[in-house]
Point group: C2
Chain length 367, copies 2
């Protein structure tokens, strides 16, 4: 599809917006009311770069919701079914957030910066409203803000080399999801081993947006000997790797799912007994067992992705959805993710433009 | 700006998406995680049509947050500083929503469908999360949902003729913001005299998205004798008319404002004494008086709008922002809206691309 995007004052511009314009960004999407680059004109080359060398991504739209105050720990634990009691300062955690009925409303990475200060690095929904309402109605002492923090991702097999060149050799010893508060040539940031790919890498959480272009250029210069280039979160790679995408794979408004259905059972700590939003609903859901689950799919004939979920059919009855699919160069197959009835996973089809395509369910990740 | 938009499964498609594609939609923006048409290739003609005949707009991205249950009235009154005690069924109300610090977080139109059922026709933020958290933590009996409702606006001086042709002559007697639950050739909808322009018109809240293209075509056919054509909420007309745009004129994350600053003082019913979110902060703000207020501006030299807020300067010091501006054909002037220091409204400038443009503050609406 080749429609334009209207760039107006209602959409926020990232700290790296000017830099990405200079790099020739060709398409944008919108995430957390902010423009986020889609690609830079050559999606195939960008995929190859992510897989074989190193890419840099403007992911500032992954906003931080900061919870700060004496009751911040109480609030963050109440927000998620995952037990956080062993979480240390400097440790990131992937945490599902559910509503009171157990449906997922976001799946941020939690960063514990201090005993009384956390960031939720959020997917595309207004969690600051959710957290603020709960904190205030509970009477808890927590201040909810959106700090001036803009993540820049360095992803790919050579990302560690680039990051070590910038921050020193000790970064090679950092554990996955570990992070440190540091600076780079006087620019304040949080450095984390993380990122929305399975190719390895780091995220630089810039803490002063006025340095957006400066930081971009520092990373670009350091990465040039490793073949760095601009890119963006890559749908094909994330499908291959089985990464969840809130908004695409599930969304409260359009296609709800609970953590069990989405394969996040290990992150729901019911036994431990901590109080959290959705607990009653999730206890019940666990007892009843799930009827649908997240699946990978192979789709015959390589149809063009329509840009929206497609009904999964069995004997012409709807038995689920394929939420996103793409052609995988590595597998030479069209792969996708969806949610399907557990009892009916054979002889599946989708219909696209009057054409019927056979679908075969498989496990994820694909690679 | 001519960047593409990435149309993927993370962005919702409106019930009228297929119809707008057929009409040749040229650009989209994103609002409430949904694609919303920007224009159809000829913004000038679309402006003229809105001013002189009649336009039809896909505004399905104006989603409904439904509050239903025994305590729905209690919740909706708690959500807004506006006193709703006299609101009748079938009456719409423009209501500011604030956070606990008195900052605006949305400005929906409230529709009272029944004593225990309301819709908030929301601007661009996830009010369903806010409302659900509050209702649940209060222990109130209210169910928060996003029903399958998609507004289609008919706007312009001939909108009443089109609507009367579709629904009968009695619609001419409908009051502004009045609405009825009705149907059109078996299609269930709510018909309201409303819409985000000052050119007059109606909104058809389609209650079954499967009829999106059908309803679009019915309206198109009925409107053809009046010169109807596709369009979208028009930034120039809304600036001329002084309509607020949450996200552009203010947004919690980036440029906060309270209702007094935004000219909504008459909608804050402090005297009446009802409890509402932000009351303490707004009582204090009222006592202290405001230091900034919403203004209209004339900008010299007709610069190109940059698509983001621009600092307003006085003696080279920042004294506010111009949030959006555009060239008004009717006034033959470049006009805008912003927020400015009350004490310093003379000798103002903005800087754009190294050029200094003189700015003169004026009242809104312009027309």
């Amino acid at each position: 599809m080749t429609h334009r995007i209207g760039i107006g004052p209602n959409l926020r511009k990232s700290a790296f917006y000017d830099a990405t314009i200079k790099e020739g960004v060709a398409s944008f999407s919108v995430y957390n009311h902010m423009l986020i680059p889609g690609h830079f004109g050559n999606p195939d080359a960008e995929y190859d770069r992510l897989l074989n060398s190193v890419a840099m991504w403007d992911v500032a739209a992954q906003r931080q919701v900061q919870l700060q105050g004496a009751d911040a720990d109480k609030l963050v634990q109440y927000l998620t079914p995952r037990n956080l009691s062993s979480t240390r300062i400097g440790q990131g955690r992937y945490i599902p957030l559910c509503d009171y009925d157990g449906w997922l409303i976001n799946d941020p990475v939690l960063l514990k910066l201090a005993e009384d200060c956390y960031w939720l690095s959020v997917a595309d929904s207004d969690i600051h409203l959710w957290a603020a309402a709960i904190a205030h109605e509970k009477g808890w002492h927590v201040r909810i803000t959106e700090p001036d923090v803009s993540p820049l991702a360095i992803q790919g097999p050579k990302a560690e080399n680039v990051t070590a060149k910038l921050f020193g050799e000790p970064v090679r010893a950092m554990k996955y999801f570990g992070f440190i508060e540091t600076e780079l040539k006087g620019i304040p940031l949080v450095l984390a081993r993380s990122g929305w790919s399975k190719q390895g890498g780091f995220e630089l959480y810039l803490r002063d947006s006025t340095y957006g272009s400066t930081l971009w250029n520092i990373v670009k210069d350091a990465g040039s000997e490793f073949g760095i280039g601009p890119g963006a979160p890559n749908d094909t790679e994330r499908l291959e790797s089985g990464l969840l995408s809130y908004g695409a794979d599930m969304r409260w408004q359009t296609h709800r799912a609970n953590p069990f259905e989405m394969g996040l059972t290990s992150l729901v700590d019911i036994e431990n007994g901590h109080e959290f939003i959705g607990r009653t609903a999730l206890v019940k859901a666990q007892q009843q067992g799930i009827k649908r689950k997240r699946v990978g799919v192979f789709i015959d004939d390589h149809p063009e992705p329509p840009g929206h979920p497609v009904a999964l059919l069995c004997d012409d009855e709807p038995v689920g959805f394929v939420h996103e699919f793409a052609f995988s160069k590595r597998l030479q197959k069209t792969i996708g993710v969806g949610l399907a009835d557990i009892a009916r996973q054979d002889e599946l089809f989708i219909h696209l433009n009057e054409v019927r395509h056979h679908v075969r369910v498989t496990d994820i990740p694909f690679i």
